[in-house]
């Protein structure tokens, strides 16, 4: 519906949601542009979801396809779970960006290009023989060719910046234009400019401000744009909100778990994409007593964490891909010594070095079976950026209640993606109970492997008189914890370690489903595919399909009612960004003929992909 609001010179079209993508060279500041639109939209009361898409680790020469960086924002007046399958508005700062992104633009969508970048060189680098702006290849879209470079230089002229610096303001020009297009306030961005540059370099601040306004006014004044768009407030749970990436949420969750359990936080880590930001974030918060140890490698990272765990810390190690593979031996030691430890795997594209900056879900079976011998540990996975905050705390709760290492799975998509986070009240959070046995009186012997009803052994800390004991990787005698090679003890300990992990199922909620309690189809998902699956299932149900959604947070052990639940549906579909790892576990455990929807392209599912599969299964 189109209205004309007084003050606004052009008609405003109301939308339920909008999807916009900025793309350009790594140097063009597209991530910033995206973040600004995200915050502005969130502040405007929309629900938002984002998907930043970085180029591969190595920086590519300017203007090449390999160097293209993008940031997609989905903002809506309804609850949304994904950044959107395709984009309705695309801003392309150069030919390479256009070439690599235009395919995602919906027919009839808005395409804003920086005309000045479409010179010989630029087009050659993008692999264009003829200019796409002229050869009609873009006729399906509403194309707006803007001389952004020239206009930005004009706008910032007089701020006393050199040309290179002036051109750096282009992203603000693009933002201004998009902000006008979606009737967004410039305030938040102006505040950002102030905070960021005002002190450091007033000239740059001034220039960015000017570029922002210039872009906005360009939309306002030129004939080119026929209308503005507006996305109203969403109905969100009342509260104080902020945006958060998955890696930030993980870091905050760890600090929160530390406070809740009264343990000091120790992170042993070695940098690796896309996990490094957790290390970066935590190293900023030493005033919380956080100790971050950048180790010489992943093995030192995890073993240093084991040492810290023995000392009583909330010990964590974070990594991805190859780094997790390297930690497997040491995880075995943590299982054998029955120490609480968090191993956080921000999954990326594999195998081997694979696709470091791309997302994937292919480390689930490694999490369960990557170690030598029978070496069980609980595994949990986050479903959205903000969910990382809750999942790591839950993982630590399990770790200390059962005295076991716990594997937490997130992925590159969650790690860098953002979503609005309803800020919790720190004071009202329940404590995570941690008990350490007190000093023993002369004479009475301490049994480090004596177990409670959860089969957890005592967490006795060095420094406690009378509790001196030795742990290690050789098989232990139950109760005494002495080295023991006896056949029956080994069998007993193998069973005990397995039973202990199995008992976790009694300590976590039963599995719930979204949708009918029984019916034709159940979609079972885990991890970062939550958004696409949840949305797809709702769409399919809205279209009258008998389909429910079951998203697993607990992957080992499975929720105790899962088997019974799977039995209530005629078919089971398991969409995964791997070759069917959860599917295999379900088949083996419950002998259910689960069907897979599998995609391994370094990208999340689109809602459409899942919907199509669901429709197909419902049809036949």
């Amino acid at each position: 519906m189109v209205t004309t609001t007084p003050g606004a010179s052009k008609p405003i079209v109301d939308l339920e949601s909008a999807t916009v993508r900025f793309c350009g060279d790594s140097g063009d500041g597209m991530q910033l542009a995206g973040t600004q639109l995200t915050n502005t939209s969130a502040l405007a009361g929309n629900d938002v979801a984002t998907f930043p898409d970085f180029p591969a680790e190595i920086r590519a020469p300017r203007g090449t396809k390999a160097g293209v960086s993008g940031f997609q924002i989905h903002f809506a007046s309804k609850e949304i779970f994904t950044p959107g399958d395709s984009v309705e508005a695309l801003v392309a700062m150069n030919p390479a960006a256009l070439a690599t992104n235009v395919a995602d633009l919906v027919p009839g969508g808005i395409l804003v290009v920086n005309k000045d970048a479409f010179d010989e060189k630029g087009m050659k680098q993008a692999g264009y023989s003829a200019s796409p702006l002229e050869d009609g290849s873009l006729s399906a879209y509403q194309v707006f060719q803007v001389d952004m470079t020239r206009l930005t230089r004009l706008a910032v002229d007089g701020c006393g910046l050199g040309q290179k610096e002036s051109d750096r303001c282009r992203n603000f020009y693009a933002m201004g234009l998009v902000f006008w297009l979606y009737d967004r306030s410039l305030e938040p961005t102006l505040r950002y400019i102030d905070a960021k540059f005002a002190k450091k370099s007033p000239a740059v601040a001034e220039a960015n401000r000017k570029a922002l306004h210039a872009g906005y006014n360009y939309g306002e004044t030129t004939e080119a744009f026929a209308a503005q768009y507006r996305v109203h407030k969403a109905e969100l749970k009342p509260g104080l909100y902020r945006n958060l990436t998955g890696n930030e949420a993980t870091a905050y969750g760890l600090m929160t778990a530390a406070k809740r359990s009264g343990c000091e936080l120790f992170l042993g880590s070695y940098p690796i994409t896309p996990a490094s930001d957790i290390l970066h974030e935590l190293s900023k918060h030493k005033n919380f007593g956080v100790r971050t140890f950048q180790a010489e490698d992943e093995i030192a990272a995890v073993t240093s964490a084991i040492g810290a765990a023995f000392g009583g810390a909330l010990a964590v190690t974070t990594s991805s891909g190859p780094g997790i593979a390297l930690k497997q031996e040491a995880m075995g030691l943590a299982v054998m010594t029955e120490l609480p430890l968090l191993v956080i795997n921000v999954q990326r594209g594999g195998p081997s070095t694979g696709l470091p900056t791309k997302t994937e879900q292919a480390d689930l079976l490694q999490a369960l079976y990557g170690r030598n011998g029978e070496c069980p540990m609980p595994v949990v996975a986050a479903r959205s950026p903000a969910d990382c905050f809750d999942v790591v705390q839950e993982a630590w709760r399990i770790a200390v209640r059962f005295m076991t290492p716990v594997m937490v799975l997130t992925d590159g998509y969650l790690a860098n993606g953002t979503e609005p986070w309803r800020i919790p009240d720190a004071k009202s959070m329940p404590p995570i109970e941690v008990k350490h046995p007190g000093p023993a009186h002369n004479g009475d012997v301490f049994h480090p492997y004596e177990r409670n009803e959860r089969l957890a052994r005592p967490w006795a800390l060095p420094g406690t008189p009378g509790l001196m004991h030795r742990i290690g990787g050789l098989e232990k005698q139950d109760v005494t914890g002495n080295v023991n090679y006896e056949p029956d003890n080994h069998q007993h300990m193998i069973n005990t370690r397995a039973r202990k992990v199995a008992l976790v199922a009694d300590d976590v909620p039963e599995q719930e489903v979204d949708g009918p309690a029984n019916g034709k189809l159940l979609v079972v998902s885990w991890g970062g595919t939550y958004g696409a699956c949840a949305t797809a299932v709702r769409e399919a149900r809205a279209a009258g399909g008998s389909v429910a959604h079951c998203h697993l947070r607990y992957l080992n052990p499975f929720p105790r009612n899962l088997g019974e639940l799977l039995g209530r549906y005629e078919k089971v579909l398991v969409p995964e960004l791997n070759r069917g790892q959860l599917r295999m576990l379900l088949r083996a455990e419950y002998l259910v003929d689960a069907i897979g929807l599998n995609k391994i392209k370094g990208k999340p599912f689109t809602v459409a992909e899942v919907v199509e599969k669901i429709q197909g299964l419902l049809a036949d």
Binding site: R242, N287, F293, E296, F310, G463, L467, M468, H469
Partner: protein
Amino acid sequence: MATDVSLPVLTANDFASDQDVRWCPGCGDYSILAQMKKVLPTLGIPREKTVFVSGIGCSSRFPYYMNTYGIHSIHGRAPAVATGLKASRPDLSVWVITGDGDGLSIGGNHLMHCIRRNIDLNIVMFNNRIYGLTKGQYSPTSPFGKITKSTPMGAIDYPLAPLCIAIGCEATFVARSIDTNIKHLGMVLKRAAEHRGVSFVEVYQNCNVFNDGAYDYATNRDTKADTTLELEHGKPLIFGKNREKGIRLNGMNPEIVELGKGISEDDLLFHDEKAPEPTLAYLLSRMRHPEFPEPIGVFRDVDRPKYDDLINSQIVEARKTKGEGELQKLYTAGETWTVS
């Protein structure tokens, strides 16, 4: 801590665990264990504040025999395990027990990095120049040409010198002793414990099953006076049955000289543990049998801020400048908005 004060006077036996020792009869590890048990009570550190961390190997069974806290970790990783423990629990006295294979083969990198960080650990490497636990393959300290199960025609790798590596990483405390030289060994272990910062001690240890006699030259009554040289701070480098020989500097290199015959003690090289530059320590660490007597004792003992202090002082510093961290503040930092 209360226990510190009301600490009863402990004896070597108080540090013995209830586990029976499982080394081969005659193994050099026994005497190192005995000396450790003698030294610990003299440090005034209660047992519960002491932790032994080891890797895997015969030597690495050590923690099981001590009535302290202990971790018999995985092969080569003890320095990293101990680093995590000491960095988060600076109140503990942490020892690392390792072997020539555990510490220099699979664990060489962790050793190197924990030394360069100068974290306050006492590292004792039992160097028997062989893989004992796996029954006799050559190790990184086995001599060139050594014939073992895995080198029937002789080893073709040149050995690593543990002390050269440690000094190359600027270790602040470096020493060497010998399993059978028990008084000296006890002294060295005590010095290592007293040093603030990382202490690296190499102990010549006889594996009488798979490498018997590796150190005959240095332990045998008749030869040891000529094949070893006891370092003493501020004293000239003298050795020999009748202390008749000395080490003199010739350009940048050491040479052996006879005392008398116009050469007096003042012409000799004087030992200086505290030398800020490690050049002397490095030169000493390269003196090898048979060309030279092998120095034993403390090669280097200098002060430098410790990693465990530094990591904690950054926390203190951060709290001073930013104030004790508050979660709610953390959550609400940056752009927020209210939905009502």
